[in-house]
Point group: C2
Chain length 189, copies 2
């Protein structure tokens, strides 16, 4: 089983996407249709898809220090087994997709993501998900640091506002990350 | 030898600071006086100082893929043993300071930085150096991911332009990184 290209889907879980959650990213829900189309096109092209998701202990013991107050006040973030931790139904993983669990911003940080990608033969990663300044960018930097050819799919990523998205895209372009829309990658979709 | 607080000085080497170098960061040189004062104040307060520097093989074999063309055209970046790899004289390390060598943006990535800081008992890191969108921010995220109390010292960090600095400070604040000027930390300096 070898794949040269992988789509990484970051943190597209109900707690980050559905309005009403204390950690909802305003722009995330609007990206679901484009992301669903991009994932289908990628699978048809023979690329692999890796969902990178958060899963925290309900106590918050393994969460970032700055998030623990949410857990302590009854608003756990992506707590294991809760509806908020579920991947959004519109982009649910298929049977051949992979799932990697993380506890911090960068999908490579203390996870098996690099081992998996190397094992699959992946050289190029297409980053999607939420949100631009935190997990999207940290994972893009993590991929760049490991010499993966790194592409951010702009209409499949989101932030709390457009200005933040634009500033992060500008920074990432200057560090050699390609930032392109999904129809530049799959023009027929 | 125990220290609760550490100052991290990132990439303040001639290649990144001195005008004329192909990778000079426009704002870096102007931070040297504030950084020198901050380091002196930190040492007097009993904090440790860790210089995080790049050192690459002259061939560029261990450099980021996007930087290798510079090496191949006779413009190596922080090549081992060259003047460009030297730490700026104005902020030269003292005899009790530490030096950690890195090859990527994040000072924690495949280095002994975390081992050193844990060994020293450090809980709080004050990040200085260059530049905001790349090594400063990646190291701040690396510190945050490892649950260090993370502070960015704004007048001791730099970028190619003010807008980039401001946007990165705004993003980091939203991820709970404290971003403050050196005279808020040492008012008497």
């Amino acid at each position: 089983m070898k794949y040269r290209k992988a789509i990484l889907v970051i943190d597209m879980q109900r707690d980050f996407v559905e309005p009403g959650s204390p950690v909802c990213v305003a722009g995330a829900k609007a990206t679901l249709p484009a992301l669903a189309r991009f994932l289908d096109a990628g699978r048809r092209a023979g690329w692999c898809v890796v969902y990178i998701i958060r899963s925290h202990h309900p106590s918050g013991a393994d969460a970032e220090i700055f998030r623990r107050p949410l857990f302590e006040t009854g608003q756990p973030v992506c707590a294991e087994g809760t509806p908020g931790a579920e991947i959004c139904r519109e982009i649910a993983p298929g049977k051949d997709d992979f799932i990697v669990v993380k506890q911090r911003f960068d999908g490579f940080f203390r996870t098996g993501l690099e081992t998996l990608l190397r094992g699959l033969g992946v050289e190029e990663v297409y980053i999607t998900g939420t949100q631009y300044p935190n997990c999207v960018r940290a994972t893009a930097v993590g991929a760049l640091e490991r010499d993966f050819n790194t592409i951010v799919v702009t209409d499949c990523c989101s932030a709390s506002d457009e200005e933040t998205a634009r500033a992060n895209i500008a920074d990432m372009r200057r560090m050699s990350v390609r930032c392109v829309a999904s129809d530049d990658i799959f023009p027929d979709v």
